[in-house]
Symmetry: C2
Subunit: 220 residues, 2 copies
DNA sequence: CTGATATATGAATCTACATTCATTTAGGAA
DNA sequence: TTCCTAAATGAATGTAGATTCATATATCAG
């Protein structure tokens, strides 16, 4: 029944490291996490304060430290949690199709859909993710995995003969990621006012065909 | 001879607002600015301290406030200064060519070249530019102008018939910006270890032709 | 109901810097 | 050489805000 089943029950001194209150369930944990993301999205990570987050979550400042090691830890947990969730979704949607073309399509649809579904997440990802220095590891994981998925699709497409074979591999991956990322960025900057998902088809088309006109591209 | 020619010479109280020491010329101003950018690039803006910057620049902490209103102001000045400089370069290089295709090529070459030339700037731009809230205006200015240049090129290319006419205009612009941006990002993340400029040609090729194979794209 | 443990609280603490300013130093006019 | 003003200095100041912790409250077993 006590929270730490495997330890002697030294009443105090166990580090607030891994032990999180269990009585109140995951409920409060997520309440705080969501509140934090909302605040981060509005103020930016560095300008956000624990007090703001606490108020937003409807708890006391101190309570936050029952669930998170530090302010940084909140952001970290967020990235871990969301990255996993989102990447899962991507993979699932990609596997929904079989040919490379449809898979790329699905990936991008999924990507835009997920970000549109959770604007706060989108803002925080766009704003704090590609930055780095101290979070880099975690976020790089998201980027790495994403690039991996794209890479697989590209390779498959080349085998299928629907994608060009003369591609600078690591460049193409960045090319795809960069385009999608910037489309999301634009949407975020615009305050999420329009349908992000509606960009998916035109974007896929651009990725596949490029901006050159048929005729101009004909000569080689 | 006094620094404020147009004001009564109240000895003290003039706000350190616009007046910058002139004796020591622009020299020290730029020394501090460059030091700051170096530190920002290494530590990230929020983790950088005035003391670090001062040490790097070889001046006293207080001296910085003779040249800048605040820490934020340093970043601001940097963006203003560099944006102008860089956009100028872009325009010049774009105008070096006459047809849209070459102009796009020049823009991207120029872009990668300039960022490669000044890695600290590149890092700070990539890291702090997309954040926002309080710098947004300035940075948006860079983005806006850049998108403008791209837009002009696209339009010209459509008239010339070398670019497709069925393009979602604002999307294409983001598409171009996003790709280039992410290529720079990758380079920055890799620690600037390779020739960034060498990505220009392959990237332009991707933008123009896309990743779809000729045959696959044939059927409309 | 009673005690015991788990949670929650928020005021008090502590620290890291940004910013200021009394003093010192440098430059140059007379 | 002597003054006077511009520049530079860096220790002292002030503050915001993260983190802690002594208390208070809720939960639950018996």
């Amino acid at each position: 029944m006590p929270q730490n089943l495997d330890k002697k029950d030294k009443p105090q001194k166990d580090k607030p490291d891994k032990d999180i209150p269990v009585k109140g369930k995951k409920d409060k944990y997520h309440r705080i996490l969501n509140a934090a993301i909302k605040v981060f999205a509005e103020e930016g990570f560095f300008h956000s304060t624990i007090s703001q987050i606490a108020k937003e979550a409807g708890v006391a400042d101190g309570t936050i430290y029952l669930y998170f090691k530090s302010k940084d830890d909140i952001l970290l947990q967020f990235f871990n949690f969301k990255s996993a969730r989102v990447l899962d979704r991507f993979r699932k949607d990609v596997n929904e199709a079989n040919d490379a073309g449809s898979r790329l399509e699905n990936l991008i649809h999924s990507h835009l859909r997920e970000f549109q579904k959770d604007p706060n997440m989108a803002v925080v990802f766009q704003a704090e993710a590609r930055k780095g220095r101290y979070l880099e590891n975690r976020v790089n994981n998201l980027t790495k995995t994403y690039l991996g998925i794209v890479g697989e699709i590209i390779e498959q497409g080349q085998v299928e003969g629907v994608f060009r074979k003369d591609l600078y591999f690591s460049l193409v991956k960045r090319f795809v990621l960069g385009s999608v990322d910037e489309v999301i960025n634009a949407w975020v900057n615009a305050g999420g006012k329009y349908e992000l998902s509606s960009m998916a088809d035109p974007l896929v088309d651009l990725l596949l065909r490029g901006i050159g006109s048929r005729s101009a591209m004909a000569g080689q």
